[in-house]
Structures are given as structure tokens and as C-alpha cells.
């Protein structure tokens, strides 16, 4: 299946390149309202038509994917670092420390995250720019989304601590930070990378859920979530296949990430 992974990588690269070149490819800025053309169909000026306020759909899609593709990996990195700290310490220390830390992890996993996110979003200062709001949203996702990875990393660390080479290292006098740096962390690298790549599509979808509820990225900045919000109105969905493009793009991006991940998971 090497060819499939290559195609997936190519698609992701193309999408990323198109988003970076949004300023050149899109006929207008994502916030510009063509008020004489609200909800217009495809035309030479607007290849994907306009939304209900007259904003160019292509521009909003390109900028929306850019937001998701840039910030989801950052949120995933934050979540992986937090998971590595909590899971790594729990697995390394073992005993009552591990039990206490896993209790905290279970507590985090049992929290209804959507309500927590809604509450935290509502408590944020109102006067922050859309760019800051989107950064805060993804940072929140990162800070709340580490628990599942922490369990995996804890289990990986625990197994490593029981492995022969760690016993031998200990017998040779290695302990503490030196043991962690030279023997544990290098062997956890693949697990951490796998957790990072798993988190990226999860956070893209989570932002999409928040955006569809109207609680994601602030206007006028688009994101995949806010673009998907249009699909909520069952009755008003006119026979406009272009309205489904953001959903199609989201499925393609997440699928490509999953295909790329398969090999990494097999390796781990």
C-alpha cells in the first residue's frame, strides 16, 4: 500500500500548498462581502459561489483549511508534550504515584469535554481578535486532549521499565534523569510521534464540532468547523453540491492522515 500513502501525502501537500497560496488563488479576501451576490451559484468570478452574506466560498475554504492545518498540529504537539509528562512520569515512577496520576487521567477522560470547552470559551475575554480566539480555541483543545495519549505513553513507559536493557542499565548504575534520557525517551519516540499524528485529525474534527455549534473560530475568520455549520439546516440545503465541499475536504484530509498513520502504528 505504499502507493496509497504516497497519494495521501501528495494530496496533503497539495492542499497545504493551495492554502498557503490562498492570497493568489482566491478571487477576494475571506471577509469581503459581495452584498449584491448573496448565496450565488458558481461563476467565473466566484468558482464555488458565495455564502449567505456574499462572501467567496473558495476564499473561505482555502483560509479555513489553512487555519485548521496550521493550528491542529500545534494543538497536537501541546497535547503530546503534556501526555508525555504525565504518562512518562506515571510509568517511570510506578506504584502509588502511577495510581494517583492515572486517577487524574481517568478524571480528565470522564469530563464531558464539549461542555467544558463551551464553559471555558464563554469565560474568555470578549475583546480578542479572531486570530487570538482561534489560537486560544486550539490551545484549549491541546490542554484538554492529552489524557487518552497519556494512558498509552504510561503503558509504554511501564513496559520499557521492565525491559531487559533497562534492567541492565540499572544494574550498571544508571538511574534518574540519565536513565530516562538515554534509554527510556529514545525508545518512546515512535509512540510519541504516533500519538501526535493521531491527535492532529482528532483536533481538526473537534474544532469542526465546536465551529458547527457556533462556538469555534470568531467571525469573520473561517475554519472548517464554521464552514460545516452551513450544513446544519436540513430543509434549507438546496441542491448545491458546492455546499458539501468543506465536508468532502475534511473527510479527505482526515483520511489522508489516517492512511499515513497506519504504517507508523504498525511500526510502533
Amino acid at each position: 500500500m505504499k502507493w496509497l500513502r504516497r497519494i495521501s501525502f501528495g494530496i496533503l501537500l497539495t492542499v497545504a500548498a493551495a492554502c498557503m497560496a490562498a492570497g493568489y488563488l482566491a478571487p477576494a479576501g475571506y471577509e469581503h462581502q459581495f452584498r449584491d451576490l448573496p448565496a450565488a451559484g458558481p461563476s467565473a468570478q466566484h468558482p464555488m459561489g458565495t455564502d449567505d452574506v456574499g462572501r467567496d466560498r473558495l476564499a473561505r475554504l482555502l483560509y479555513g483549511i489553512r487555519v485548521s492545518l496550521l493550528l491542529a498540529p500545534l494543538a497536537a504537539a501541546l497535547a503530546t508534550v503534556m501526555a508525555a509528562l504525565v504518562g512518562g512520569v506515571a510509568g517511570y515512577a510506578g506504584g502509588w504515584i502511577e495510581r494517583c496520576m492515572l486517577l487524574i487521567v481517568d478524571l480528565f477522560l470522564s469530563i464531558p469535554w464539549i461542555f467544558l470547552l463551551v464553559t471555558v470559551r464563554a469565560a474568555l475575554p470578549l475583546n480578542i481578535s479572531p486570530q487570538a480566539s482561534v489560537t486560544v480555541t486550539f490551545a484549549l483543545l491541546g490542554m484538554l486532549g492529552w489524557a487518552a495519549s497519556a494512558r498509552v505513553i504510561c503503558a509504554g513507559t511501564r513496559d520499557l521499565m521492565k525491559s531487559d536493557f533497562v534492567w541492565m542499565a540499572r544494574a550498571s548504575g544508571f538511574s534518574g534523569f540519565k536513565l530516562l534520557r538515554l534509554h527510556v525517551l529514545p525508545n518512546l519516540r515512535d509512540t510519541l510521534l504516533a500519538q501526535f499524528w493521531i491527535s492532529v485529525p482528532v483536533f481538526i474534527i473537534t474544532e469542526a464540532n465546536l465551529g458547527a455549534l457556533g462556538l469555534g473560530v470568531a467571525e469573520p475568520l473561517p475554519s472548517l468547523g464554521s464552514l460545516l455549520g452551513e450544513l446544519q439546516q436540513l430543509v434549507t440545503l438546496r441542491p448545491e453540491p458546492l455546499r458539501f465541499v468543506p465536508l468532502f475536504v475534511l473527510i479527505v484530509i482526515v483520511s489522508c492522515f489516517q492512511i499515513l498513520l497506519e504504517k507508523r502504528q504498525v511500526n510502533v
Binding site: Q33, L126, L234, V235
Partner: protein, 531 residues
């Protein structure tokens, strides 16, 4: 064979009598919180009260005039403190108990009991002292109030008369239907009240319908789909996007009943102790700033785009749909960004690097909060953001869940500007006392003032008290016209649009006459028939 046909005709006749008019079905969006008509506060309970309760007078939703119901005549005293009703005789409750003046007295006693905490009763509280009701004869009743009550007779439109003698208590009703069956959270089945007193012009007993089925359905998209499938017959409020869709696919299903009394508005937080910077409070308390923001918003575009053309630019607090109380001398604020900039200049604002700055050099930037999930409001906020950008004002749009928004606006006062709407269920301005008095809780821009903080708010207080204490409609209209004028000049609320009343009515329903007043589609339920 010939011997059979009279029997067939008789059976057909009995069948027609057994199910007069068929069953009307529509959705309510929650299960009623109460079936006690005196405790109604939510929309679903109000629907049940309207369909089952018998009232002394009823507002005709088309002519906007009071019509006699259980009272055949009424007279308000010159001082506005007393009202006398002459009652219809020979009327019986759904369980057969006779109706008399004693029931009106009992209803008023229950309604005004402080222990009951009735929102309907609050409208009658005009001053210190008790409300007394006296049966002068079995068909004559007089109700006295400690102080004059404005719009007194109309208030009885919402008072369902309960029985003082029936063992069924409030479940014995005088309205066209009674509650026959109900399943919490699912449905309520109302059946025709065979004791209902009203007849049509041909002497045929009303209502024509045999039953009304209210089905609980929260999702308005599914409600619209059910109307399309013919599972329900009515929708009281259709959102513009759905209206457009249905008007293309099934034009017979939807009707535009014209501009409504509902408003959409934005306002600035002017509360002195609010957690916002002092320089922003200075902007928000400036009339020039508020007028400039108002003039920079393109209301025509908003009505055309956010409401698909089913709205009108708002003039002020009272909609032109409210024929008597609307101040016809006023027009909506025109879209004029140049005039807006001139007004801002008068307050020392100036443009710098494409952005507006105040006289101290602060960049003019504020946030507007609105409730998440309301697509029309989200569109309006995006349009305001774009319009104000043209005069150099940077707006941050924040959509938050409704409970958080209400907490910010009503208790924490932690917001800068808010975009929300009002549903004006009543035409009379007296019911807006809790908004316009500077001491009121709902005086949103600066609530609970110990004394009016501006001279124009002091004048609004005076005029509102004048209209509330007078029974002379002409004087009340003059006072309310002046309040509208002040609000138009000062713009504590920047009124944006009045939405049209868009309704869904199945072609199977006969005699429907939709109105912008609630309940829009079934206000004449007695005359409705289902084919």
C-alpha cells in the same frame, strides 16, 4: 335496496356530527410547564391556555380591537381604577358546571394572591393596596384597583376564568377545547368542548374542529419537514431560509403575514460600574457615538440578506405593524457613513492609519456578543462588523451560548455591546415599563438606577408614568409618541429590523387568517377546519 338509503344518510350524518372539522395537528417546542392558566409563563403553556381558556374579552388579531367573549359589555371608570363587566348568561364549563360572576371574582382573587406569584397577575398591580372583585349580580361583576391601570380591558385577554365550584378545578374550562389526553414530553390531545357557548353566523356550534393534537418537537427543521410531509398543519414562526425553500417547492404551504412587532437591536453597555475601560464607557455614553454607529449600519442590506427580504428596517421600539401606538412621524435612520464620521468628529474621533481613534488616541474597537446557533443574528453581526469597518471601527463578534450571554448582560454586566431581539407579544406600551423605567431590571443599557443618570432618561420615566396612570388613550398615545421620539434621538437601543411574521399553513386547513400577533396561525381556532 331503496329501503337502505335513509339509514346510510343517517349514519353519514352521525359520522359528520361525531367528528366536526377533523383533527388539527401542530408542534409545540416544549412540554407545558403548567396547566394552571393563572401560572402561565412559557409559550407551550400559553398555547394550551389560549386553546382551552375562556376569557372575558379577546383581542381580534386582525383588527387589533377588543371583542366581547364571556363579557358582553364592559366599562372602565373615568379614573381608570374600576372596570365593570356584564357577563354572558347560560354558559357552562366543559364539565357542565354553570358560569357566573362568582367565578370571575374567584379567578381575580386567585390571580392577585401574592402567594401564587402569577406573571399574568403582575400586569394588574398598579400600586400599593389590594385588588377587589365584587359580584353585583350573577351576571354583573366589578373589579377595583388601588390606582389607575393603563390598557385595563385588554389585560383580560390573557385571564382564563376558572371555576369556583367545579370539582375538576382549573381543568374545567370555558374555551373551545378541553384537555382529553396527555403524555409528558410527547403530546397533548385537546378535544372539542361540547358546552362551548359560541355559534357561527349560521347558528352552527363552534369550534368546527373535533380535536387539536399538540406534539412536542424541539427541532424546527424537523417541524418544517413534517409540515412538508403533511404530518402537521401549522407552524407559527418559520425562519426566512426555510420560508424561501418551502415557497419554491410548496408555495401553498407558507404565507408572509406582513411585518411583525418583533425587533432586533444592538445596545452598548453604559453601566458606570461595569468591568469595561473608562474610555470605552465614555464612547458608549455619547449620543453622537451611538448615532454614528446607527448611521453606519446598512439596515436595508440586513433585511435583504440576513432575513431574505422578509424584514423591514426598524424605525424604533414600536413597529409600524402596531397601528395605534406607532409614531408615524418617525422614519428609520438612513445608512450614511459620511454623516456618521461627521458625528464622530464632533466628539474628537479621528482617522489614523485607516482606523478610528478617540481624542486620547485609543483605537476604537469593541466586541458584540450574540447567542450562538441563531444564524440570522450571526449574519447580522458579520454585516455590522463589515459596515463599521468602513468608518474605521474594529468590531469583534463573539457568539456564546444563551445562558452565558444572559448572565453577562443581566448580572455580571461584563460585555461591551449586545445583539439580541425582542418578541413583542402585546401591542400596548404599558407592558414595557420594566424596560424603559431607569430603575427597572430590564433597562438593559444601564439597569437599576437609583435616579435617572441623564435628563432624557428622566423624561422617559415621567412619560412612562404618565401613560401608565392615565385612562385617556389620546394622552397615553402622546406620552408614548414622545418616548419613541426620545429613543429615536438618543438610541440607547439601536433598532435594526422588524421581522416579517412568516407562517406555515397546510392547504388542508380552511379559514386560516394568519396574523403577526401571537398565536399567529390559530388565533381564530374556533373557525378553523381541516379537510
Amino acid at each position: 335496496m331503496r329501503r337502505w338509503w335513509p339509514w346510510i344518510l343517517l349514519l353519514a350524518g352521525l359520522q359528520l356530527q361525531a367528528q366536526p372539522g377533523g383533527e388539527l395537528r401542530f408542534c409545540i417546542h416544549s412540554y407545558p410547564r403548567t396547566f394552571n392558566p393563572l401560572l402561565v409563563e412559557d409559550e407551550a403553556s400559553e398555547t394550551v391556555r389560549y386553546l382551552t381558556g375562556g376569557v372575558l374579552v379577546r383581542m381580534d388579531r386582525i383588527t387589533q380591537k377588543l371583542q366581547p367573549e364571556l363579557a358582553t359589555e364592559w366599562k372602565v371608570s373615568a379614573d381608570g381604577k374600576r372596570i365593570r363587566f356584564k357577563l354572558r348568561t347560560g354558559v357552562r364549563y366543559s364539565d357542565g358546571t354553570p358560569f357566573s360572576a362568582a367565578d370571575v371574582v374567584y379567578t381575580m382573587q386567585q390571580l392577585m394572591d401574592p402567594a401564587l406569584h402569577s406573571a399574568t397577575g403582575d400586569a394588574f398591580r398598579s400600586g400599593e393596596g389590594a385588588v377587589s372583585a365584587q359580584a353585583l349580580s350573577p351576571a354583573l361583576v366589578e373589579i377595583s384597583f388601588p390606582a389607575a391601570v393603563a390598557n385595563l380591558a385588554s389585560l383580560f385577554d390573557t385571564v382564563a376564568i376558572i371555576s369556583s365550584k367545579s370539582p375538576q378545578r382549573e381543568m374545567a374550562v370555558l374555551g373551545p377545547f378541553y384537555i382529553a389526553e396527555r403524555k409528558a414530553g410527547s403530546y397533548i390531545l385537546l378535544k372539542r368542548n361540547s358546552n362551548y357557548w359560541k355559534k357561527d353566523a349560521n347558528g352552527r356550534p363552534l369550534p368546527y374542529l373535533g380535536a387539536v393534537r399538540l406534539e412536542v418537537e424541539q427541532n424546527r427543521e424537523i417541524e418544517a419537514l413534517r409540515l412538508q410531509r403533511g404530518e402537521i398543519h401549522l407552524i407559527n414562526a418559520v425562519v426566512p431560509a426555510v420560508y424561501d425553500k418551502l415557497s419554491r417547492s410548496d408555495p401553498a404551504l407558507v404565507r408572509d403575514a406582513g411585518v411583525s412587532a418583533d425587533t432586533e437591536q444592538v445596545w452598548f453597555n453604559q453601566m458606570p460600574g461595569a468591568p469595561i475601560p473608562a474610555y470605552k464607557l465614555a464612547w458608549f455614553t455619547s449620543t453622537n457615538f451611538r448615532r454614528a454607529v446607527s448611521e453606519a449600519i446598512n439596515r436595508e442590506d440586513m433585511a435583504r440578506i440576513a432575513f431574505h427580504g422578509h424584514a423591514r428596517p426598524a424605525v424604533g421600539v414600536t413597529s409600524p405593524a402596531n397601528r395605534f401606538w406607532f409614531n408615524g412621524k418617525l422614519n428609520h435612520h438612513p445608512y450614511d457613513p459620511d454623516s456618521a464620521l461627521r458625528r464622530l468628529k464632533q466628539d474628537g474621533f479621528h482617522m489614523e492609519n485607516g482606523g478610528l481613534r478617540d481624542k486620547s488616541g485609543n483605537e476604537v474597537e469593541f466586541s458584540i456578543i450574540t447567542n450562538a446557533g441563531n444564524s440570522a443574528r450571526e449574519t447580522m453581526a458579520a454585516m455590522i462588523q463589515q459596515d463599521l469597518k468602513k468608518i474605521g471601527i474594529h468590531v469583534n463578534v463573539v457568539t456564546i451560548d444563551l445562558p452565558s450571554l444572559l448572565e453577562r448582560v443581566s448580572s455580571k454586566f461584563n460585555y461591551e455591546a449586545c445583539l439580541l431581539g425582542w418578541i413583542n407579544a402585546d401591542l400596548d406600551p404599558n407592558l414595557q415599563m420594566n424596560v424603559w423605567l431607569s430603575s427597572a431590571d430590564n433597562h438593559q443599557w444601564n439597569p437599576k438606577q437609583s435616579s435617572p443618570s441623564t435628563s432624557w432618561e428622566a423624561e422617559i420615566d415621567r412619560r412612562m408614568k404618565d401613560q401608565a396612570s392615565s385612562s385617556d388613550e389620546r394622552k397615553r398615545k402622546q406620552a408614548w409618541d414622545r418616548v419613541q421620539q426620545i429613543v429615536w434621538e438618543q438610541e440607547p437601543f439601536i433598532f435594526l429590523v422588524n421581522k416579517d411574521a412568516l407562517v406555515g399553513i397546510s392547504p388542508a386547513v380552511k379559514n386560516a387568517q394568519p396574523s403577526f400577533l401571537r398565536p399567529q396561525t390559530f388565533w381564530n381556532v374556533e373557525e378553523l377546519e381541516v379537510k
